[in-house]
């Protein structure tokens, strides 16, 4: 059973967003890491990249598959989680404790189109 965490925002493409002021921490959900299996590589954006909501910003790879990552929010990448370069398994260990990138949001109103934990949970159940 995949976990969710209250207080985060969730996208249909299985990313989560944690808001700290105007900064969005973005990661993949527990459902996503569980579906992918053991991750072997995380492809991340570069700092200063400009992203539009819904735009591809990287990918996760496992022995089963590769899956693109889509940014739930628009803005500028201000930091990436370099630990994931050598230790992609951190996302398997705890998908919510390990963010992938931090985005300085240009349009925080976009958060309203994302799901809360219970809506996301319901979507995954439907899968």
């Amino acid at each position: 059973m995949a976990k969710t965490v209250d207080g985060l925002y969730y996208s249909e493409s299985h990313e989560w967003v944690k808001v700290e002021g105007n900064v969005a921490l973005v990661g993949i959900t527990d459902f996503a890491q569980h579906s992918m299996g053991d991750l072997s590589y995380v492809d991340m954006p570069e700092v200063d990249d400009q992203l539009e909501a819904g735009e591809e910003f990287g990918a996760v790879e496992s022995v089963k598959a590769a899956s693109d990552l889509y940014s739930p929010v628009s803005g500028t990448v201000i930091e990436i989680n370099e630990e994931l370069e050598d230790s992609p398994e951190l996302l398997n260990q705890d998908a919510y404790a390990n963010w992938i990138m931090k985005v300085d949001m240009s349009n925080p109103a976009e958060l309203e189109s994302l799901m809360d934990a219970s809506a996301y949970d319901a979507m995954c159940q439907g899968n």
Binding site: S35, P88, E89
Partner: protein
């Protein structure tokens, strides 16, 4: 089975040799070579006896699994039996001793085979003309997309840079499109596992170069809306590309040309029984509809009016053409009457493909003949449905109904013991079967994709069904045995994740 992974160098002992040659008066000639061309250190060749060599390669070959050793139900790969007569013909001295640079006048029979194979493939698929040049299915995809791009460019329609690919497509489709410089746009499947026409419609505009489709698709389902999809795509000015990976169930029954496809590739190593896998030579001929013939790659094998064959290198032969016309896209101005290459997508193979592979496919077609080739599809479909219906109480069948040559289960019916598709696949190895395709298509989380092909007997299918039911029972009573499988193979469960994260690519301390 005993594990064997030695290199031939591991067997080497100084002074060992397989045979010795008598001294020759010609050996002195080596001394006449300029000293700069002679080696100063002996080459590091393995020193082994003939028996060492025989045992080494026999042992290595036994570490392999192929269609000749057992059932190989690898979905979307069509691992059918490769009849041995294909090999006999390909090994015949008349073919095996050919040189790629022989003049056309000395290889008339070979050029005739090129033309006849092209014509047979045209008859089977309903396409106007073929190139036999591409070396593999994905190479055929790239060639086909280059033809599509060339078609739009030649009409001055430069906006068409997007290609539509369904979410159930083989991974090579978006990859080939990306290599061809096209932007990939995904179209969703509907609940029945078919391309969602309503999702497709808004994507169709004047930036669409075409759509790549596999029919039947990777769920083994016939895209029954294909005629409708073809008109929609054609109306917006795009072309239809047919991925021939799943041609097997349709051969001799339905033709992609009649469905409305403009370009296709065939995998001769799937549908036409040439050797498959292991990175060996493949062949992915590309067929086109009449309006795309001028965009085929060069050189082409042509038949002259007197019945002889020649290789058209792309140069324009028309008397009025400027010098060099037809080569590397230089316009000749004589179109559409001449056969030159000025409208061609380019050259994609140095010597017109893998002739040995083409020859095997030609043999296969002739051996089956016009009547029997129609039995391939129905028998492959019957085998797949027989397995599906026999196992659907033990495994989850996400899309019920009649399938074509392959189908997809979504893991075990009872997943309470958390036995995964990977565990099932590994356990099958213990029972002497090759694993099916797993975790593809990506539409489901526990995909098991099974394709038996028409060459397997009912006894083989029954044996497989029995073992699959047995594994499903084991999953309930003894899940640990599955989670640690395989147990009888030369190597046990491999650590795939460490192999991906920290690959060791060097054998011991060998360094060249």
């Amino acid at each position: 089975m005993k594990y064997y992974d030695k290199l031939i160098f591991d067997l080497s002992k100084d002074g060992k040799q397989g045979y010795s040659l008598p001294s020759s008066k010609w050996s002195a000639s080596v001394g006449e070579l300029p000293s700069g061309l002679c080696r100063t250190v002996a080459p590091e060749l393995p020193q082994v006896s003939e028996l060492d060599v025989v045992r080494h390669y026999t042992n290595l070959s036994q570490m392999n699994f192929g269609v000749d050793t057992g059932f190989y139900p690898l979905g979307s790969c069509t691992m059918k039996y490769n009849p041995k007569i294909n090999e006999e013909i390909a090994a015949h001295r008349a073919f095996a001793s050919l040189h790629p640079l022989q003049p056309a006048s000395s290889v008339q029979g070979v050029l005739k085979i090129y033309r006849e194979l092209s014509r047979a493939l045209s008859a089977i698929t309903g396409m106007a003309e073929f190139t036999l040049d591409p070396f593999a299915g994905a190479h055929g995809e790239l060639t086909g997309l280059m033809i599509i791009r060339q078609y739009h460019v030649s009409r001055g329609d430069l906006k068409r840079t997007r290609i539509i690919v369904p979410d159930s497509a083989h991974g090579t489709n978006p990859a080939s499109a990306a290599v061809c410089g096209l932007e990939v746009v995904q179209v969703k499947s509907n609940a029945s596992g078919l391309v969602d026409v309503e999702d497709l419609k808004p994507l169709l505009d004047d930036t669409v170069a075409g759509i790549m489709m596999t029919n039947p698709n990777t769920l083994g389902l016939f895209e029954k809306d294909i005629r409708n999809i073809a008109s929609l795509v054609h109306e917006c000015g795009g072309l239809l590309y047919y991925d021939g990976a799943n041609m097997n169930p349709l051969m001799g029954v339905v033709r992609p040309g009649d469905m409305g496809f403009d370009v296709l590739h065939l995998n001769l190593h799937k549908t036409f029984s040439t050797p498959h896998g292991g990175g060996g030579p493949g062949a992915g001929p590309v067929g086109v509809a009449a309006h795309l013939v001028s965009h085929l790659p060069v050189p082409k094998v042509m038949e002259a009016e007197d019945g002889t064959f020649y290789i058209a290198d792309g140069a324009c032969r028309c008397p009025s053409a400027p010098e060099g016309a037809g080569v590397f896209g230089k316009e000749c101005g004589c179109m559409p009457d001449c056969v030159c290459g000025c409208q061609s997508c380019g050259q994609i193979s140095g010597f017109m493909g893998n002739f040995g592979v083409l020859l095997r496919a030609y043999t296969y077609i002739l051996m089956l003949g016009r009547q029997n080739i129609r039995m391939v599809g129905p028998l492959s479909v019957l085998g797949a449905n027989y397995i599906k219906e026999s196992l659907k109480d033990s495994f989850r069948l996400p899309v019920p109904g009649v399938c074509k040559h392959e189908f997809v289960f979504d893991g075990l019916m009872d997943q309470s013991t958390e036995v995964t598709t990977l565990d099932i696949a590994k356990r099958l190895l213990d029972y002497g079967f090759h694993a099916p395709t797993i975790y593809f298509p990506l539409l489901f989380h526990q995909s098991i994709m099974i394709e038996p092909t028409e060459t397997e007997s009912k006894e083989t299918l029954d044996g497989f069904i029995e073992i699959m039911k047995h594994i499903a029972a084991e999953a309930a009573t003894d899940p640990e045995t599955l989670k640690t499988a395989p147990h009888t193979t030369p190597v046990r469960r491999l650590d795939e994740i460490t192999a991906a994260r920290q690959p060791v690519l060097q054998y011991k301390d060998m360094c060249i």
